[in-house]
Amino acid sequence: MRATVIGREEVLQVAQLARLALAEEEIEPMARELSAVLDHVAKIAELDLDGVAPTSHVVASSLASPSGDDASPEGEGEVTGALRPDEPRPSLAREVALAQAPAVSDGGFLVPSPQA
C-alpha cells in the first residue's frame, strides 16, 4: 500500500464526524501526524488474511479454538448471550444522575437547541 496521506479537507470531515472542533493551527499538524501513523499501520495490508476470522472476545475465542485446549477451564468458553433479561430493577435515583450535569431543567438534562 502506498503511503496514506490525509489532507486538510479529510481532517475537517473526520473532525465533523467525531464532533470535534479543531483550531486552525491544529489542522495541519493533525493531518501530518495522522498520515504518519496511518502509513505505519498500513503494513498490515501486506499480510495474507484470507479466511482468517476476526477476533471478538479474545480469551473466549482462543479457548474455543482447538489449539487453545491446554488452557481451557471448564465451561469458560461461553460468553455468548451476554444480554441480561430485560427486567426493571433499581438504578440511580434521578437527582443523583442529574447531580453532576452542567445544566438541568424540569428533572432532565438541559442542552442548547439543535437550531439556535
Binding site: 473526520v14 473532525a15 488474511l49 480469551v59 489449539s67 469458560e76 453532576q100
Partner: protein, 485 residues
C-alpha cells in the same frame, strides 16, 4: 514501617504488631506531602484522602491502596487524567475497587495517569507529568505512571492500575517494581472509565510478586455488571516456588532483537537497547541455573501487533469517548451556540492533543469505506497473533521478553513524535492483543535505571506465572530501595 510489603503489613496488623490506623497515617502524610509539593514533588496523585475509611477486619487488614484516577470511586474525584472530567465525582464505585475495599484495602489516593490511559509516559495528563523517582528528569512510563512512581517511591504500599497495550507492565519496568496484566476478562471493567474495551484490563502494581498475587486474589471474578468478565478456573494462590526445574521458557526472536546501529536497519527504533538486552540475557541465565530450559520460539505476526493495536485501540476509543459531550457530566463549553457547537467546543476544550489524535484516527478507521481496510483487517491480525501464542504454548510453558525496548527516557524526549512514543509498547502489545496474562518484574539496571523482564503465559495461567516470577525474583534479588524518597 515503610520497608514492609503490603502482604507483610497485613500480616503484622493481623498479628497485632502493627496498628492499621498508624500505617495509613504514615502513608497518608507521605502522599499528601507529594501532592502539596506541586512541581517540586513527583506529582503522583490527583487526590489524597483526608482520613482513613472505616476499617474492617479482613484479609487486607486496612492496608492503604493507591488507585489509578480512571477507576470510578464514589464521591471521590475520578477524572481519567482529563480536563473534560475535572472535578467529576462519580455516584458509584468500580467493581475492582469495591472488591479490594471489601477485602479490607483502604483507599488512600487516586494516582496520576496519561489522559484516558493514552500514553506511555504520563506526560499526557491534564494535571501535569509524573516524575520517575529513580531520576526526576525522566518519565515513569505510562499510562499508570502515577501508580508505578508512587509504589517505587514508597508513597503507597501498592497500587491499582490498568493495562490496555502495556500501561501496567511498562511503567512497572521503568520504575523498578512488579506489574501484572491478568488474563483479559478475569477482572471486571465495571466502573473503569473506558479506553479500548476489548483490551482494557485492571491489575496490580506492587513492590514484589507476592503482593501482586495477594491483590489479584481479591480482585478477580465474574461480575454481572461486565458482560465480558470471566470466572478464573481456580483461586489465585500466593507464590511459593523456588526452582524452575523442567520448565520450558520460550524467547521470541521477533521481540528480542538488538537495535540496528544508527538507523541502518529497515525497522529503525524497533530494536532493544544494549543494556536492556544484557540484563535480559542475565535473567535468562539465572532461569537456567534454577533448572529451566530456554529455547527460541517464533511469534511470526508479533511485528504487526503494534500496527493492529493502533487501529483497534483508537477505533474503540473513538466510540467510547463519544459519551463526553457536555450533557450529563464534566465540562461544557460553547453553550451560546447550538447543540452541535456545544458538542464540538466542549470536546475541543476538554480533550488533550493525544486524545484528539486517537479519536480522529479511530473515527477515520471506522468511517465508511475504510472500515474493512483498517478495523476489519486489524481484527484478523489479532486472530493470527493469538494463534501464534497458542502454537508457542504448545512448545513452552512461558514466553520471556524484555518489558520495554529502553530504560526510562527523558521528559519531553518523545512528546513531539507519536510513533516514537508508541514503540514503547512494542514488546507488551502482542500479549494484550492475545488477551493473555503477563507480568513485569525488575531484573537489573542499565545506565543505573531499572530494566523489566516480561513473563507471559497462556490464558488463566496466573498461578503458575506468579510462581515462576517469584522464583526468578528471589534469585535475582533486585533492590528497589534507591527509588524511595
Amino acid at each position: 514501617m515503610l520497608e514492609l510489603t503490603a502482604a507483610q503489613a497485613a500480616a503484622a496488623i493481623a498479628a497485632g504488631e502493627l496498628d492499621a490506623g498508624e500505617l495509613f497515617e504514615v502513608y497518608r502524610a507521605r502522599s499528601a506531602a507529594d501532592r502539596a509539593a506541586g512541581e517540586d514533588g513527583l506529582n503522583c496523585f490527583t487526590w489524597v484522602a483526608d482520613e482513613m475509611p472505616a476499617p474492617s477486619a479482613s484479609p487486607l487488614a486496612g492496608v492503604p491502596l493507591g488507585v489509578k484516577d480512571l477507576f470510578c470511586t464514589e464521591g471521590v474525584p475520578s477524572q481519567s487524567g482529563s480536563r473534560i472530567l475535572e472535578h467529576y465525582r462519580p455516584p458509584y464505585t468500580a467493581s475492582a475497587v469495591s472488591r479490594l475495599a471489601q477485602a479490607g484495602a483502604s483507599l488512600l489516593a487516586k494516582t496520576n495517569q496519561d489522559e484516558f490511559a493514552m500514553g506511555s509516559s504520563t506526560e499526557n495528563s491534564a494535571f501535569g507529568p509524573t516524575l520517575n523517582p529513580w531520576d526526576r528528569t525522566r518519565v515513569p512510563g505510562g499510562s499508570s505512571g502515577g501508580s508505578a512512581a508512587a509504589v517505587a517511591a514508597g508513597l503507597v504500599p501498592w497500587a491499582l492500575g490498568t493495562d490496555t497495550g502495556g500501561s501496567i507492565r511498562q511503567p512497572a519496568a521503568l520504575c523498578g517494581i512488579v506489574g501484572l496484566k491478568p488474563t483479559y476478562g478475569s477482572v471486571s471493567r465495571y466502573g473503569m472509565i473506558a479506553f479500548a474495551s476489548s483490551l482494557d484490563q485492571a491489575g496490580p502494581l506492587t513492590r514484589d510478586v507476592t503482593d501482586a498475587a495477594l491483590m489479584l486474589r481479591h480482585m478477580v471474578g465474574r461480575d454481572p455488571c461486565d458482560a465480558t468478565s470471566l470466572q478464573p478456573p481456580e483461586e489465585i494462590e500466593l507464590p511459593h516456588a523456588e526452582r524452575l526445574d523442567g520448565m520450558r521458557l520460550g524467547v521470541p526472536a521477533e521481540l528480542t532483537g538488538a537495535s540496528s546501529p544508527e538507523g541502518e536497519g529497515e525497522e529503525e527504533g524497533e530494536g532493544i537497547e544494549a543494556g536492556v538486552l544484557e540484563a535480559f540475557q542475565s535473567a535468562l541465565a539465572r532461569a537456567q541455573e534454577l533448572g529451566a530450559q530456554v529455547q527460541e520460539i517464533g511469534l511470526p505476526h508479533a511485528p504487526h501487533a503494534l500496527s493492529a493495536y493502533y487501529v483497534l485501540a483508537p477505533a474503540e476509543a473513538s466510540s467510547n469517548l463519544a459519551r463526553f459531550d457536555g450533557v450529563r457530566y464534566g465540562l461544557r463549553s460553547g453553550d451560546a451556540g447550538d447543540l452541535f457547537d456545544m458538542y464540538t467546543r466542549t470536546r475541543h476544550d476538554g480533550f488533550g492533543a493525544e486524545v484528539k489524535r486517537r479519536i480522529m484516527l479511530g473515527t477515520y478507521a471506522l468511517s465508511s469505506g475504510y472500515y474493512d481496510a483498517y478495523y476489519g483487517r486489524a481484527q484478523r491480525v489479532r486472530t493470527k497473533i493469538a494463534e501464534d501464542f497458542a502454537a508457542a504454548f504448545a512448545q513452552v510453558d512461558f514466553i520471556l521478553t524484555p518489558t520495554t525496548p529502553t530504560v526510562a527516557f527523558k521528559l519531553g524526549e518523545k512528546t513531539g513524535d507519536p510513533l516514537a512514543m508508541y514503540l514503547n509498547d512494542y514488546c507488551t502489545v502482542p500479549m494484550s492483543l492475545a488477551g493473555i496474562p503477563a507480568i513485569s518484574i525488575p531484573c537489573g539496571l542499565s545506565q543505573g535505571l531499572p530494566v523489566g523482564l516480561q513473563i507471559a503465559g497462556p490464558a488463566f495461567s496466573e498461578n503458575r506465572l506468579l510462581d515462576a516470577a517469584y522464583a526468578l525474583e528471589l534469585s535475582l534479588g533486585f533492590d528497589g530501595s534507591a527509588a524511595r524518597v
